[in-house]
């Protein structure tokens, strides 16, 4: 599957299968679950603690204020009663508060957005649509502090086997056009670029957007690599894309944005690709917060002891350990891997074969980097061996003959460096 040039002068890449046309005409809807769970970042919760309590009644699409500031909120995807609030630790030790809502069968839609926020403006978007399905950090794009000059709308899917965005584009009936118009109104920028694979160019709107055709090959579907190709130069490795003046948003989010202002209802559904054990993808539509269990049950997929459940694709997804894990606004795919396919990592030393260096799309000296990271020298790794240039594609681990979890070391290094910087700032 990996394509590499014999002389090693071109970077290797993984071809992702194009979406098979017509195999699945529409998106399968997963029934409303009995319970949904929302995960909130703990650091967004204000001094006064959570403003929601057990027993609160919520309506579908209701804005639930979670912190002191008006801009920290979450959207209830169902109508029902808050039944539990718990602490939860996620990827990289991030601390979350989980709010579980027991859903009633009938949706009662909240009217606040329809009456107060229905006109497309930056203020309304920030008040109601700070996170969108497919763009959990949509508020960064709207933040006036960032000097955004170009917005890239990605019609590509980040990871292998994932076809959420491409499927949505293929079955699009004008939502994208509407979304782009709204986006331009709420954040007027010089350039809006739509990145699509060659077979979906016809789906791009005729005007108002610059269309770029992209090769569907991993890792060139990752944001930073796509931006590099579109701009012709790389953005600085440290800092967010928005700080460099680039907004990056998925086509799914833009379509949800257009739909929200057209129909005056909050987007509460997420489209995701479910990748079964045989690697066959099914595109489904679920309520945000639906537990994995419900998704798998309605698709008749059995997840057994020792299998692996991954949010995201095979290269850069995140494994979850429980069937209760909820689908979030950033969950583009759900992959089930059979226990026989699970390849364990090893604790062998790096043998300096150089496969990772040749595979790295960002020219990071991975062989040196991993030596520093293994020994906990995170600052040196960042200063001397370009830790922050990593675009998080996972190809280094994929090709490692010593089976070192290099990608994990890199994420650990980034996490520890950020933690050190934050500690320094807070003590300064």
């Amino acid at each position: 599957m990996i394509k590499r040039s014999f002389f090693g002068l071109a970077k290797p890449k993984l071809k992702t299968p194009a979406v098979a046309v017509g195999r699945q005409s529409d998106i399968k809807a997963i029934p409303l679950p009995q319970k949904v769970t929302l995960l909130l970042k703990s650091d967004e919760i204000g001094e006064g603690g959570l403003l929601i309590q057990i027993g609160d009644k919520v309506r579908t699409g209701q804005r639930l204020r979670i912190g002191d500031e008006d801009r920290t909120y979450c959207i209830s995807p169902v109508t029902g009663t808050v039944c539990s609030i718990a602490r939860h630790t996620g990827y990289l030790g991030r601390s979350f508060r989980s709010i579980t809502i027991e859903a009633t069968e009938e949706d009662q839609w909240d009217q606040e957005f329809g009456t107060e926020g229905g006109t497309p403006s930056q203020d309304n978007a920030l008040r109601f649509l700070g996170s969108l399905p497919g763009a959990p950090e949509f508020k960064n794009l709207l933040d006036p502090r960032f000097p955004i000059k170009i917005v890239v709308i990605s019609g590509m899917d980040r990871d292998l086997l994932v076809e959420t965005n491409r499927h949505l584009l293929r079955t699009d009936r004008g939502d994208l056009k509407q979304g782009i118009e709204v986006l331009k109104k709420i954040r007027p920028v010089g350039r809006v670029v739509l990145a699509v694979p060659s077979d979906l160019v016809a789906k791009a709107p005729q005007s108002g957007v610059e269309v770029k055709v992209m090769d569907i090959a991993y890792p060139y579907t990752l944001p930073r690599l796509m931006v590099e190709k579109i701009l012709g130069e790389a953005v600085p490795a440290t800092g967010k894309l928005e700080e460099a003046g680039v907004g990056f948003v998925s086509a799914e989010a833009v379509m949800a944005l257009g739909k929200a202002f057209r129909d005056r209802v909050m987007p509460v559904e997420k489209v995701l690709t479910v990748i079964g054990k045989d690697e066959s993808p099914t595109v489904v539509r679920v309520r945000v917060g639906t537990p994995v269990r419900d998704v798998l049950e309605s698709l008749n997929i059995e997840a057994g002891h020792g299998d692996r459940i991954v949010f995201g694709g095979p290269m850069a997804g995140q494994a979850v350990y429980s069937l209760d894990a909820p689908v979030g606004v950033d969950t583009d795919a759900l992959m089930i891997q059979d226990t026989t396919e699970v390849i364990p990592w090893a604790d062998t030393h790096c043998v300096n074969c150089g496969e990772c260096v040749r595979a790295c799309p960002a020219d990071v000296p991975v062989n040196m980097l991993v030596r520093f990271l293994e020994n906990g020298l995170f600052e040196e790794a960042a200063e001397r061996y370009d830790l922050f240039s990593c675009v998080e594609c996972g190809l280094c681990s994929y090709v490692c003959i010593a089976r070192i979890p290099i990608f994990q070391y890199i994420m650990l290094g980034k996490y520890e460096c950020n933690r050190m910087n934050q500690a320094e700032e807070s003590h300064a």
Binding site: A319, T348, N352, C353, E355, M368, D386, A402, R403
Partner: protein
């Protein structure tokens, strides 16, 4: 709780290209086989004895070292066996048994384990052992002395020694086709040039070793030898002779390309190979030793970390020292 399903939680990626160190070492050993089998036919049972004994000894030393260091047994990765095999290939068939025992001990323990095991060795382990033996017991690796009791039916003098001491007129005894087809004396696994080339090409095509290193080494040897030959054709042999004799081919495909002690970036690989080639011919032609490959490779092994500092700028990175 016990009946609950447990899922494997680990970090991305969840796929792997299924390559492994064991696989790689097995392929390198397979690539050695044409030359080794030819050597066994040429030198007879003593050669077979040395090969088997060397591989076994290397694995035993590795296992004993694992026990002593209280580390998991690593003989399964095939690296110790490969070191033993390569060491045997460099030896004359008539080497005494204790030479093999001491040599593999030096290769595994001094060459590899004291640095931290696989991947941590700054030099090629087999060459470390060979160099120490070469300097400690001069006669043991003198092919003319070691193989004096053989009757081959061709010029049975070690070609490099002949050229060194009798000038390039001695080359006439060694037609290139003979050198290529193994009609020369030398180490068990180094006389059959064609076998080594086939093995090397196999490894290059399968991606187990890098063509940059092998090619630049041969280019380095060719042009340096050409220069010497041009300057003084009476004393110095022609380039092709240097390429097909001594440890050149095994060096190009099996010694210089060892992972841990060779660079990984494109330009450093070329410089590494080229300099090793130049140094080899310099040692052969004006140095003290008959064959320069051993010390040339070891010296360039030392230069590897420095060479590998020449690397492309990482994406979005700041320019260093700016």
């Amino acid at each position: 709780m016990l009946s609950q399903k447990l899922f494997v939680g680990s970090h991305a990626p969840y796929w792997h290209n299924r390559s492994s160190i064991t696989e790689k070492n097995c392929h390198i050993m397979i690539a050695c086989l044409p030359a080794v089998i030819f050597g066994i036919f040429q030198f007879g049972v003593p050669a077979l004895r040395v090969v088997l004994f060397s591989v076994s000894c290397a694995m035993i030393w590795e296992f004993l070292m694992n026990l002593a260091m209280k580390r998991p047994a690593t003989i399964g990765d095939g690296n110790a066996a490969l070191i033993g095999l390569l060491f045997a290939m460099l030896l004359p068939a008539a080497i005494p048994w204790w030479g093999v025992v001491v040599g593999t001990l030096l290769a595994i323990i001094v060459g590899k384990q004291i640095w931290g095991g696989i991947g941590c060795n700054p030099f090629h382990p087999s060459l470390v052992a060979l160099a120490i033996i070469m300097l400690s017991w001069k006669g043991m690796l003198d092919f003319d002395e070691a193989l004096v009791n053989y009757d081959f039916g061709f010029a049975a003098a070690y070609p490099l020694a002949a050229v060194k001491y009798f000038g390039s007129s001695a080359v006439e005894n060694y037609p290139l086709s003979g050198l290529l087809m193994g009609r020369q004396v030398g180490g068990i696994g180094v006389t059959f040039g064609l076998g080594l080339i086939i093995g090397g090409l196999y490894l290059i095509i399968r991606g187990f070793i890098r063509w940059e290193i092998s090619l630049s080494f041969l280019v380095g040897i060719f042009f340096t030898a050409l220069f010497f030959n041009y300057a003084n054709p009476e004393n110095y042999a022609a380039p092709m002779f240097h390429i097909l004799s001594g440890y050149t081919l095994i060096g190009a495909f099996f010694l210089l390309t060892e992972d841990s002690s060779s660079p990984v970036n494109f330009l450093p690989m070329l410089i590494y190979g080229l300099l090793a080639g130049v140094l080899t011919v310099l040692i052969r032609n004006i140095g003290f030793f008959v064959d320069g490959v051993v010390f040339a490779v070891l010296l360039l092994n030392v230069a590897n970390p420095l060479l590998d500092k020449i690397r492309p700028k990482a994406m979005g990175g700041e320019i260093e020292n700016a």
